[in-house]
Symmetry: C2
Subunit: 367 residues, 2 copies
Amino acid sequence: MSATIYSTFGRLLTMRRGSARRATIQDVAQAAGVSPSAVSKVLRAAYGVSPEMRARVNDAIEQLGYRPHTGARAMRGRSFTIGVMLTELSSPFQPEVVDGISAELDSSPFQAILTVGGALAEGQKRGIEALVDRQVDGLVLIAPFVSQSWLEKLTASVPTVVVARHGGGDNYDSVVDDDYEGARLMVDHLAALGHRRIVHLTHPSGGLKRPFVLSQTARCDGYVKAMERNGLEPDVIETHWSEDGGYRAAVEALGRSTRPTAIFGGADIAALGALRAAEELGYRVPEDLSIVGYDNIYVSTIGRISLTTVDQSGHLTGATSARLLLERIAGRTRPVHYVVAPRLLPRSTSAAAAADTATRRRSTSPR
Amino acid sequence: MSATIYSTFGRLLTMRRGSARRATIQDVAQAAGVSPSAVSKVLRAAYGVSPEMRARVNDAIEQLGYRPHTGARAMRGRSFTIGVMLTELSSPFQPEVVDGISAELDSSPFQAILTVGGALAEGQKRGIEALVDRQVDGLVLIAPFVSQSWLEKLTASVPTVVVARHGGGDNYDSVVDDDYEGARLMVDHLAALGHRRIVHLTHPSGGLKRPFVLSQTARCDGYVKAMERNGLEPDVIETHWSEDGGYRAAVEALGRSTRPTAIFGGADIAALGALRAAEELGYRVPEDLSIVGYDNIYVSTIGRISLTTVDQSGHLTGATSARLLLERIAGRTRPVHYVVAPRLLPRSTSAAAAADTATRRRSTSPR
DNA sequence: CGAGTTGTGTGCAACGTTCTACACAAGGAT
DNA sequence: ATCCTTGTGTAGAACGTTGCACACAACTCG
């Protein structure tokens, strides 16, 4: 942000000081008949406080409804705030991670605040910097797209846990699903059902270089390797992990002369789009075509959908991240890279592959 | 939070000062060969700055990668931060509102930070207070459950916009969907299709008293009134607006001796649960039973679901909230209560009511 | 009884901004 | 020349915390 952007509004904020002034540590000190330093000591549970003084001070705090001013604290080095940057709220996985973080932080003095960075590295940097400007004591970054060098530089100065990004790093901890393994589970599941032409839908890698990759690349790599181990030819379509992206990719795949018998959406949301495409084109799922996803988002569990998918517990991921971050804030420097094991959930959108000749369109439309 | 909770961790944070010190306004001043006051002036676009000085200062800012310290600014009265409290990330409506807020704030110097308050008033207060502690310049509260008196007291000292809460208030602006009207639209739609026994699923009101109610109560009131105007008898089941809550309520409704011909979930997510119940119990939707929702969440648009619902644009709601908040921060005190018009979206889960005798169970289960 | 030791409380200088009050220079009008 | 403006820059006191350095009292020990 150049200086000018601040100015536009700067002059408008003409200080409408809240009528009832907020109690400060001074007020508490006066009420309790002690010095501000003494109150600070009580607040910090520092050494050198008699039981009677503690009681008097706590009474005063209670009575005045005193709450510490985070900004002032931040100027002295810590804000008791954990910053969480996520890339999108609409995907259901990230909110689950946030839930896990909140739950874990609940019994600590730290508060989580979030910013939404969006799908582009630029916006994500903005979101992260906004948190750093607010002097957060630690950072959780969910699926960040930023370059490895930027990340290393950032994490050299602020304790950080990175979620859903492979490759690890020297300065930060990470919590990541074993996407390679998850993709393998799914490919093996389909192969066991007799599928030979399995298309995989992937998402742009964002220019990250291996091994510092996000889920999409890891899942794609895992898919390719698993296909080869099964003696099958990999077939990847790059699209966007959105309902529409999945739809378009599926239309393309199903328009080919030799059609796939299974579509493996790299994310549930893309699989849902593929599902819509299949229905519109008159294919029955799973009789004519299997469609599977990854993430086990909430929608996938609903009766009408019942999507075969891979589960990675968002809640566990979040709770683990928070725990690691607290450790790191407390002084640990040796990096920890935690891997969450994925779990295959076979449901009703995958079934045995149709005999090759049977892969045909129905003439009547479904439902 | 009592003082003790801070102490647990306090001593652990033993100041691992980031190696490379962050550039301050002093550093910039030195680099540019001017006083700190001068730099501050440039930053604020205040009067009394020559073009040459501005240029020199901006160069120095650029070169040092200087970013203002929000905490220090907050101590002087403003933090350029907008606090957003939302109650849950999992429901798709609230994230959409956040998107709208972010979009509107993008061209302002303000940054949005979020906290997640959860479904209970207690947690929401915590979330709001955490934001106030961080000296936000303004607050957006999404569907807050807190008492009206608490809300009035809070908003007396900090500019606030409340989303999705009816009744308005003197100290704050609000943006709210016309839930009464939306419920009427839906009831009329069903009545026009010949439905006479329409069950409505509602969510606990949280002890709020009219007119200061959240969406659930307004929708329920709108439903009751619309039913009566159509000469029909209202039939409300209180449950939770979740997939499971909708499921259980639907099982109850369908277990009665005289079954409803339509279920109006107060929220899409509850309607989805009802949909699952109907399918499991062997009812065809919409042939045997119409099921409709409210919110037009993303999932409802997906082919397999295609739920009849009422749309309230979350994005518009968010953008409007942010705009109102900026106005309020800029000095407006007269409250504005903005009402968003709902829109009926008939899709494939509603159809003409079956003849009374035809409301029977199929013996074969679907799919 | 003086020298330590321990326990309990205070004084004060930061931390990074903002903004009022002021200083100084250059020019314009009398 | 003197007095006003006007334009441009700086000094310095806040803002609310923290935590080091100290002071003072009451013991303990030789």
